[in-house]
């Protein structure tokens, strides 16, 4: 059985090489963020830090400069957090209600409405940027966190509706009929019967919305003002500030800080993250 052993060796060799390729940027980010600038300049990309040095993490969080502002990433991080909580909560709630109506309270034309909305999942966002910035100005939300929340909710509705609709199609209609015979109304059925059965899709949608909104850059860079920039914009400004000597260790620490929340979600609930990805890719 020598050839079988050889096959296995090649198989694991390939898988291992790919694993190294995929881990490389994360490894480089991490070790670079723990080095001091001398070591970054003199040593090589892959070498381990001479000593554990969290100075660049501290600097990235508290003091790093983006332009003339030297408060580090901290304010951007809090902006992202302030934006993401209402945006995820509202878009998920509305998506759940929409999915419930579209599957359990169908009416003439509801399928058509849904298909028209589906296009919103695929539409290139560039098309709404210019008019949207005017609309936000009219309603007094330009350059604010609430403006970003509004845009993310509007943009997220199509996907959250899609997720819940596809899940609720699988809930037996008999459950709803039985509850109606018992005299339960629209909201009572949702609250008492549908919602308790929704945990899996709720988790998928929450994770999906969280990652998308946390990672968004386009809306952040177009619609935020000086005091409402999200973390991705903060990181990009920090890494592209060309004023003084480039501190790659601080850049990498900043990138790690911006990556940690979604990375954490992925490690803790990766299964649901993957389900979200595949649900987004394969409709129905």
């Amino acid at each position: 059985m020598n050839s079988k052993l050889l096959h296995r060796a090649i198989l694991f060799g390939l898988l291992g090489l790919f694993a190294l390729f995929f881990l490389l940027p994360l490894y480089v980010m991490l070790v670079t963020s723990l080095k001091d600038m001398d070591q970054v300049r003199l040593g090589n990309l892959l070498s381990l830090p001479a000593s554990l040095n969290f100075a660049s993490w501290d600097k990235a969080w508290h003091h790093a400069c983006t332009g003339t502002d030297c408060r580090g990433l901290q304010p951007y991080f809090w902006n992202s957090l302030a934006m993401i909580i209402p945006a995820v909560a509202v878009s998920t709630t509305l998506g759940a209600l929409n999915g419930y109506v579209l599957t359990k309270w169908r009416f003439k034309g509801s399928e058509l409405l849904f298909s028209l909305m589906l296009f919103g999942v695929f539409m290139p966002l560039q098309v709404v940027l210019l008019p949207m910035s005017q609309v936000l100005g009219w309603i007094g939300l330009s350059d604010s966190i609430w403006g970003l929340v509004t845009v993310h909710v509007l943009m997220g509705l199509a996907s959250t509706t899609l997720f819940f609709r596809n899940y609720y199609v699988g809930l037996p209609d008999e459950l709803i009929k039985a509850a109606m015979l018992d005299g339960a109304g629209f909201f009572r059925i949702f609250w008492r019967i549908v919602l308790p059965l929704s945990t899996p899709i709720l988790v998928v949608t929450l994770i999906w919305q969280f990652t998308n909104i946390w990672n968004d850059f386009l809306f952040g860079v177009v619609f935020s003002g000086a005091d409402s920039k999200p973390i991705t914009v903060g990181l990009n400004n920090l890494a592209n500030t060309s004023s003084s000597v480039k501190e790659y260790n601080v850049d990498m620490a900043a990138a790690m800080i911006a990556a940690l929340p979604t990375l954490l979600v992925y490690v803790v609930a990766g299964k649901y993250f993957v389900r979200g990805l595949t649900a987004g890719a394969v409709k129905g």
Binding site: P25, L154, M252
Partner: protein, 310 residues
């Protein structure tokens, strides 16, 4: 929500001889009322703003919106602009290589992982984690790795390859390929996940039968498994094409469109024109072209998906 006054379900109440009560009529319309706000807002947002953007693209808008109609002038300027043509050419190069390589690597990984190996869960986690990160984060990381002075080049020279040069990031002709590297790194794991799910969905007995007939493993994959995953290929292609066309963050973080405008894509072109160059009409026109491209790919796909479900 209090229970309805009588024990009758709302549907039954609406058919009584006395005609529907106000309460029953409310119950009847309630689902639509719940749906209405998000659908009205979504449609205004999607189709209303598309129309508005379309109008901006045929207006004389420059630094400020100006609703004077100028016909297709902006589109003529757009397609006469060298920068836009570079962006389109880049999109072709980038999307071709990105989609092709991400599919190839993803499929290879899926097949390798499908060989009943230990540590599959761990490997899958490693291959897929880039997808959880922002393009801004991964772009920043790749920019550092590909940095001509201190990154891979420095590493290889340190290892004794003193003549090793790797300056793609600052070479106008090669910079777009660095975007491809980072893009494939980011998305290949996602393709792997889709293909692996597809492979796992295939009936085992088909494989058993082929094995009894004496077919080799590569032959089984090539002739039976891969062809039966056609729908998965199609969905993956759709999603990757869509990612390619809207790619913006990755380029902004990795090269910011540079050197010069050598790595501009339509998405970064649109942003630059509309928000930093004060060319609103031109930006709107480029956005409309992007929309048309996506629609040409996605509308037939959505149409067939929705039809096949009936």
């Amino acid at each position: 929500m209090p229970a309805p006054p009588s024990g009758n379900p709302p549907m039954a109440a609406s058919t009584t001889a006395a005609g529907p009560s106000a309460r029953a009529r409310f119950e009847h319309w309630l689902p639509r009322l719940v749906l209405a706000p998000s659908f009205v807002l979504s449609f205004l947002f999607i189709y209303g703003l598309i129309a508005w953007n379309g109008y901006l693209s045929v207006s004389a808008s420059r630094l400020l919106p100006n609703y004077e109609f100028v016909g297709l002038e902006q589109y003529v300027t757009l397609f006469e602009s060298e920068r836009w043509m570079v962006a389109l050419k880049n999109l072709l190069i980038f999307s071709g290589l990105f989609i092709g390589l991400a599919m190839a690597v993803g499929l290879l990984l899926a097949i390798l992982l499908d060989q009943k190996i230990r540590a599959e869960g761990l490997l899958r986690t490693i291959y897929l984690y880039p997808m959880a990160l922002s393009f801004i984060v991964t772009g920043t990381a790749w920019k550092w790795i590909l940095n001509p002075g201190l990154g891979i080049e420095h590493l290889m020279q340190g290892w004794g390859f003193t003549n090793f040069k790797f300056e793609w990031l600052v070479d106008p002709d090669m910079a777009i390929y660095t975007v491809v590297i980072a893009g494939v790194w980011q998305s290949a794991g996602f393709v792997m996940a889709l293909f692996l799910a597809g492979l796992r969905g295939i009936d085992e007995s088909i494989i058993k039968a082929a094995q009894i007939d004496g077919a080799s493993l590569p032959r089984i994959y090539w002739r039976i498994l891969i062809p039966s995953m056609r729908p998965v290929f199609f969905s993956t292609l759709m999603v990757l094409a869509h990612i390619a066309i809207k790619s913006f963050d990755l380029v902004m973080a990795l090269t910011a469109g540079g050197p010069g405008f050598a790595t501009d894509l339509p998405a970064t072109f649109m942003y630059t024109m509309a928000f930093t160059r004060g060319q609103i009409g031109l930006g709107a026109a480029s956005a409309t072209v992007m929309l048309a491209t996506v629609a040409a790919i996605v509308v037939p796909y959505l149409y067939s998906e929705l039809r096949s479900k009936r």
